[in-house]
């Protein structure tokens, strides 16, 4: 595009003129940096590219995913390579779905004083403080639901003045919810009983042995469950 607009951004403590339409990741590459840290799926799912930036003349810190945010003129940015939040080992099968389990592993959760900085720093726009509150009162269902779209970028961890690690608290909560609160799927148990008894083995063997043309006909004429 010949007449493309350019903006000036400050990256790696050096400024660069880059096309205004680029995302931060692509702008970094345009400026010559081949990234290993601070880049991942490039589609907003992996949480590798948490970015903190200011705009010229404005003291406010902003938070973004570098792969999902377009550059702005005067953007002064830093990629957060990782954040050393704690992640203890635990045996999820020995835990119950309650506040005690979470506080037993992440005891600092109790230090949350409700400043809401975590929520303000979330690039997924999740109600982070609300899910931390849910963890504290043992509402595992709310914790799991509110935190579900967390991509674990760690920006809230970097900002929390009480030194909580909300993504790990949330992950533990979701695992407890998935294991202990959601009822087990009855169909799975029934099908596994059949499989353990050897059901379907003969049917599959028959399909494997079927002449190609017959298998194709069987496929073409199979009944399809309505959408």
């Amino acid at each position: 595009m010949p007449n493309e607009d350019f903006v000036t951004i400050q990256v790696m403590e050096r400024s660069a003129r880059v096309p205004a339409s680029l995302t931060i990741v692509k702008a970094l590459e345009y400026a010559g940096y081949k990234l290993t840290r601070g880049v991942g799926c490039r589609a907003g799912f992996c949480g590798a590219c948490g970015t903190v930036f200011r705009l010229k003349g404005d003291p406010k810190l902003n938070y973004a995913l570098a792969c999902q945010t377009v550059v702005q003129d005067g953007m002064y940015l830093a990629q957060i390579p990782f954040f050393p939040g704690q992640k203890p080992a635990y045996d999820v099968t020995k835990l119950t779905a309650d506040a005690q389990s979470i506080l037993g592993i992440y005891e600092e959760t109790i230090k949350c004083f409700g400043c809401n900085t975590c929520t303000k720093s979330c690039p997924q726009e999740l109600e982070v403080m609300d899910y931390v509150s849910a963890a504290l009162r043992g509402d595992i269902a709310a914790l799991a639901d509110l935190s579900f779209d967390c991509i674990m970028c760690g920006l809230c961890v970097a900002r929390c003045p009480a030194e909580l690690v909300p993504p790990h608290i949330a992950l533990l909560g979701r695992r407890l919810y998935g294991r202990e609160v959601q009822p087990k799927a009855p169909d799975l148990q029934a099908r596994i009983a059949e499989l353990d008894a050897g059901k379907y083995q003969d049917e599959i063997a028959e399909l494997k042995a079927m002449p190609a043309e017959e298998l194709k006909q069987k496929y073409i004429t199979r009944d399809i469950e309505p959408v």
Binding site: I9, K34, G40, C41, T69, F148, R191, Y200, L207, Y219
Partner: protein
């Protein structure tokens, strides 16, 4: 950044036909007709974008030119660059790759008594697994059976799949879902615990289990957490494997890693190696954008091929029918098939539906390409691209207001970031490179013809034949990751650590020279290079 005026005119036509289309089911293509559309419009069939491999075990096999270049590539490592006497790590099982297959393999190898190290090129969990949105197939509903699943998989792959691999895929599926449930994966369930399941392209039963539209992310973060809960599994990040090591007699006995941070080479001796390195979408096949992770550069194919493992189905790539075509910032990124699974239809510039929305992916992609090329019914984009409409608002009409927000939060967020509300407006889509159908040939436990080398996940070939169905990759990585982990642990229990050498690398270099392949790419390439190489003028600091 919302839609242009010209796009809005076309959207008005989509809106005008919406009510009438709602109850319609566009007929799927008859078998012969589908084959014809594939032959004429699918990128796999463009002869000049394929060539024969000139060296290695598959010499003479066809592969995309981009893949052939890396498979024939020059080794980065020579004997003088690394001291094999200085061993940095010894382990029973070395898992290469930190996606879903690698994590599954590490867990099962550890459970089966092996000492395990997992090494990964970028962060643990940064993988295509994390990006899979739609779901995971398993035939566990009363109306379904593994045999019906088997038939769907074989038909989707045009009956080219390796039957034994399909058999274990469908027979293990229910066990895998239960395993994930016990690990605490939060699948969408009804209040009574029954899994919510929907269709995917080419499925004859609703067997797609999902976790909103973060299905892969939910599986990945759970598996990653479980690995981190077992400190006996050693995890080494930002350390890609640049070469496997062999004992000089054809057995794989370790690997050399390169630390991205320090540029040191690290030597690992292992009784067994499991390659779980994923795909190759970042090779930018035929200039297509891709849905893949930054690290999807065919590393495992290169490493395995160099030690003599066989490759299969190299000449078939999966182009996902619905990649974002607009706005520019997200071109090529995945628009999950779940959107069509929930009832969205595909419409052309005139607002007319032109294909059955749940064809297998290769046929659907070819139908979209036909609409935009031969039929000229696509919608042009300002950046010179083209696409057709995926009419998402239909989902709200079909299943009620709020369905999209509940079922597709990632998609809503992705488009909202650029000013598009997919609950009210359709998405512009075009096929995007999504998956490597082929790969290293495996047996039912991920074993290869090379002793000590196991393979699991997208880097393997044969399970899907020439076309994978939606929801069978999350299934493949867990089924075969678990199998390879178990098998590698059993193998490791019966052997001693072997001698380590780069003899196969020297043989490879000699074979390249003999074939006249001087120069060429250094492979594995590890990361794509998107940097601009001409130097920019210094700009005035902004602060």
């Amino acid at each position: 950044m919302s839609y242009t005026a010209a796009m809005r005119e076309s959207i008005a036509k989509v809106e005008a036909t919406r009510e009438a289309r709602l109850p319609e089911t566009y007929p799927s293509l008859e078998h012969d007709e589908a084959q014809e559309v594939l032959r004429r419009f699918h990128p796999d069939y463009i002869e000049e974008r394929m060539r024969e491999l000139r060296i290695g075990r598959n010499k003479g096999s066809r592969a995309p030119v981009e893949l052939a270049e890396v498979l024939e590539g020059a080794p980065a490592l020579t004997r003088d660059l690394v001291d094999l006497e200085r061993v940095d790590l010894e382990t029973d099982v070395l898992v290469v790759g930190g996606g879903g297959a690698g994590a599954s393999a590490a867990l099962l190898a550890q459970e089966n008594g092996a000492q395990v190290a997992l090494v990964t090129k970028l962060r643990f969990g940064d993988a295509n697994t994390m990006m899979a949105q739609g779901g995971i197939q398993a035939a566990d509903k009363p109306s379904d059976s593994p045999a019906i699943h088997y038939l769907d998989v074989m038909g989707g792959g045009h009956f080219t799949n390796v039957p034994e691999l399909v058999e274990v895929l469908v027979m293990d599926a229910t066990y895998v879902i239960r395993w994930l449930e016990e690990l605490g994966c939060m699948f969408n369930k009804r209040p009574d615990g029954v899994m919510e399941t929907i269709h995917g392209g080419g499925t004859s039963r609703k067997r797609m289990h999902y976790a909103r539209d973060y299905s892969g992310a939910e599986i990945m973060r759970t598996l990653r957490d479980e690995v981190r809960c077992r400190p006996e599994i050693q995890v080494l990040q930002f350390s890609p494997v640049v070469e496997l090591l062999t004992d000089g007699e054809g057995r794989v006995t370790g690997a050399v890693l390169r630390s991205f941070e320090s540029n040191e080479y690290l030597v690992v001796r292992a009784k067994a190696v499991i390659l779980a390195t994923g795909g190759s979408g970042q090779l930018q096949y035929q200039g297509f954008p891709c849905t893949n992770h930054y690290g999807a550069t065919a590393d495992g194919l290169v490493l395995g091929y160099r030690v003599g493992a066989e490759l299969s189905f190299l000449d078939t790539m999966q182009y996902h029918p619905t990649g974002a075509a607009y706005p520019e910032q997200i071109v090529g990124q995945l628009v999950t098939e779940k959107v069509r699974g929930l009832g969205a239809q595909l419409c052309n510039v005139d607002g007319v539906q032109f294909t059955y929305p749940l064809e297998p992916r290769d046929i659907e992609a070819a139908a979209v390409i036909r609409e935009c090329t031969e039929r000229g019914k696509g919608i042009p984009t300002p950046a010179g691209g083209v696409g057709v409409w995926l009419d998402s608002p239909l989902i709200e009409l079909k299943h009620g207001e709020g369905t999209i927000a509940r079922e597709l939060p990632a998609m809503v967020r992705q488009f909202a970031r650029f000013g598009i509300d997919i609950t009210r407006e359709p998405m512009l889509i075009y096929p995007t490179l999504h998956f490597q159908n082929g790969g290293l040939s495996i047996g039912v436990n991920g074993e290869t013809a090379v002793q000590g080398l196991y393979v699991a996940g997208e880097v393997a070939g044969g399970v899907h034949g020439r076309n994978r169905l939606m929801g069978n990759s999350l299934l493949e990585i867990t089924v075969f990751g678990r199998r390879a982990g178990r098998a590698a642990a059993a193998y490791a229990a019966g052997v001693e650590l072997g001698a380590i050498s780069l003899e196969h690398v020297e043989a490879w270099t000699a074979e390249r020279a003999e074939a006249g392949l001087d120069g060429g790419l250094v492979a594995p390439i590890l990361l794509p290079d998107y940097t601009r190489h001409d130097r920019l003028p210094l700009a005035t600091p902004v602060v």
